[in-house]
């Protein structure tokens, strides 16, 4: 217990030393540079340098956020607004970035924090090593060094003690020891205080969090719209298929059976011919219903889950497809279904548009995330957006907070990666 307290205090002292250097030096450097960069915006140069400086500042602040969590269990969330995914490149991108960063209130809070960090933050941090190290000077005085200083006319003060004799030098040593003991208890608290001060300024404010929630609500509203639209379209398709297909065939069958009933005695040959036709109709109605079921909820998916359903799907493809599955359990039915159809559409794309000869599908689940990669050796050049099938898949996954990423250089290969947060059971 004793040694661990000393150990913790010494570690906290070392961290305090580090933090004091970083907060003072980092504070001055970043504050001066940021103020200069922003001041030069009217001249044009600032537009280019501001994002660079601010990005550095964000890294500086993020490092402190990480240390706060690791060293003192002070959790500081990151408040910066994310950049939109389709940022322009080059000069114009930099201008956009500058604009977005200056609009982000977190930027201005970062700058305020720098001022506090290099003053109050610095003082709190430097206290931790000082409490431990000051004892050494007290003892150095007490061991005789006070005498030459005093004889040379120096009025040496140790804290509030005027050291003029061995007695007062001893007091200094005792005070130093006392401070050391205080440091043993106080040092971890000091470091935590330093981080708490940082949290006050660089954690998201309530209004920031509200804004984040509002964005989230917007996103959910949008994906819900998509989901509703998709399922409505799906229902219309099913209704039409039933109406034009199986239902019509059953009606035709009923009519044939009625005719057969009338003919069975007067014209048995004709009746027999119609019977064959009725049987054929019933078989075709079944085939159509079967295809319809496969389009709504594939039987293997219902019976075995995602892994085997994708394997079964691969077996029906005209292209050699390797499927690698590492799933311990099954996801919820809607997630399985979305993932299955996303894979199915991706595979169709690879065969139809990419002209692939080989396809690899990899399914696994780690860290609460279902990850699916579909790679093909086709001609590449696939892109999300522009009304492609891929944006349909993206919408499908969006309902479950899933994301889609496509890497498809012209000439191939194409790799489509999907991630859906979900738990397996």
């Amino acid at each position: 217990m004793g040694t661990s307290r000393v150990g913790r205090a010494v570690i906290a002292g070392a961290r305090g030393l580090y933090l004091s250097v970083v907060s003072l030096a980092g504070g001055i450097i970043f504050f001066v540079n940021a103020v200069l960069a922003i001041a030069f915006i009217p001249l044009g140069i600032g537009v280019l340098t501001t994002p660079v400086v601010l990005t550095g500042l964000r890294k500086h602040a993020n490092l402190r956020r990480v240390q706060a969590g690791e060293w003192s269990d002070v959790h500081i969330p990151i408040p910066y607004r994310p950049f939109p995914p389709n940022m322009r490149r080059g000069l114009m991108g930099q201008v956009d970035r500058c604009h977005l960063m200056l609009k982000d209130p977190a930027t201005w809070r970062d700058l305020q924090w720098l001022l506090v960090d290099m003053t109050a933050g610095f003082i709190v941090a430097i206290l931790a090593p000082s409490l431990l190290l000051y004892m050494l000077y007290g003892w150095v005085l007490a061991l005789g060094v006070w005498e030459p200083i005093y004889n040379a006319g120096g009025g040496e003060w140790y804290a509030f003690i005027h050291v003029t004799s061995q007695t007062t030098a001893n007091y200094a040593a005792a005070l130093g020891t006392g401070l050391f003991v205080v440091g043993l208890f106080l040092n971890p608290v000091l470091i935590r205080t330093h981080f708490r001060m940082a949290r006050g300024l660089i954690a998201p404010t309530t209004s920031m969090r509200e804004r984040e929630l509002a964005l989230r609500v917007d996103h959910l509203t949008e994906t819900r719209h998509d989901a509703v639209d998709t399922s409505a379209a799906e229902l219309r398709r099913i209704e039409r298929d039933l109406h034009d297909g199986a239902q019509a065939r059953l009606v035709a069958m009923g009519m044939d059976l009625g005719t057969i009933e009338a003919l069975v005695e007067s014209n048995p040959a004709k009746a027999k011919e119609l019977l064959a036709k009725a049987r054929q109709n019933s078989g075709e109605a079944l085939t159509e219903l079967r295809d319809l079921v496969r389009g709504i909820h594939p039987p293997v998916l219902a019976e075995r889950g995602l892994g085997d359903a994708v394997k079964a799907l691969a077996l029906r493809l005209p292209v050699t497809t390797e499927v690698d599955v590492e799933l311990r359990g099954r996801a919820e039915a809607p997630v399985e279904s979305a993932a299955y159809f996303a894979v199915s559409e991706t595979l169709t794309n690879a065969i139809k548009h990419a002209g692939a000869e080989r396809i690899w599908v990899d399914l696994h689940h780690t860290d609460g995330m279902l990850r699916i990669a579909v790679t093909d050796n086709g001609k590449g050049g696939a892109a999300v957006g522009t009304g492609s099938g891929l944006s349909g898949i993206e919408r499908r996954l969006g309902t479950f907070d899933g994301v889609l990423a496509v890497s498809s250089p012209v000439g191939g290969p194409t790799m489509v990666t999907m991630e859906i947060p979900c738990e397996l059971s």
Binding site: S282, G283, T287, V300, L315, P318
Partner: protein, 216 residues
């Protein structure tokens, strides 16, 4: 011949019982769930089992699982699996142990009573009866590849029927040619596909399927 039948829909079960009885099969048991099927297979020692893939209580692939488990317990136990849909994945699982005596057919095949009964008898005798849909999927899947492309259309027809599990005599009957002609076609097919020649119907099918399976 004693049959254990497993089908959860009453209408279908009843229809199958009547059809099998009409063709002189003895129904040892007609059950409607997985556990009942497992029990019946263990206790009644039937000559053949006709099993629906999807059975209660799980309503997933319980029937298939029960059949596979029963075959592990008693290798070669003849099982004909019926399903609303056919999947190569399941066909492979049934054929995997290589002991024969398996069938996997779409439920609609019972519409043609003669062919269905023929399939049941073939499976009971240790042969195979694979649904044409499974075979067609397999064939179309490999059609672009050599040397399957080297087959003549007639040879492909013969290969398709052979892979379903039919004997030369049955194939000859279906294609309305002599058995000698079929024997010639089959030896050509075996030559082109580099398959070992075998007199045994069941081994013949397994060889075809193994060939179609390779290189995946």
């Amino acid at each position: 011949m004693r049959v254990v039948l497993a089908e959860d829909l009453f209408l279908l079960r009843d229809g199958l019982v009547r059809m099998l009885e009409a063709f002189d099969f003895e129904i040892a048991a007609a059950v409607e769930s997985g556990p009942e099927l497992t029990k019946a297979l263990a206790e009644l020692q039937p000559d053949v089992a006709v099993v629906d893939v999807r059975l209660p209580p799980s309503h997933t692939d319980e029937g298939l699982q029960c059949a596979l488990a029963a075959r592990r317990a008693k290798p070669g136990l003849p099982v004909l699996v019926l399903s609303q849909h056919v999947e190569q994945l399941y066909a492979r699982e049934l054929l995997a142990d290589g002991t024969g005596g398996v069938g996997y057919l779409l439920k609609d095949r019972v519409f043609d009573a003669g062919q269905f009964i023929d399939a049941v008898r073939r499976v009971a005798a240790g042969g195979t009866a694979m649904d044409p849909q499974v075979i067609q999927q397999l064939l179309s899947r490999r059609s672009a590849d050599q040397p399957l492309g080297a087959l003549t259309p007639r040879e492909r027809e013969v290969l398709e029927l052979m892979a379903q599990g039919r004997s030369n005599a049955a194939i000859a009957g279906q294609l309305v040619v002599t058995e000698r002609a079929i024997a010639k076609h089959t030896s050509n097919i075996f030559g082109k596909l580099d398959l070992p020649v075998s007199d045994d119907d069941n081994r013949r099918v397994l060889a075809v399927l193994a060939y179609l399976d390779q290189g995946r």
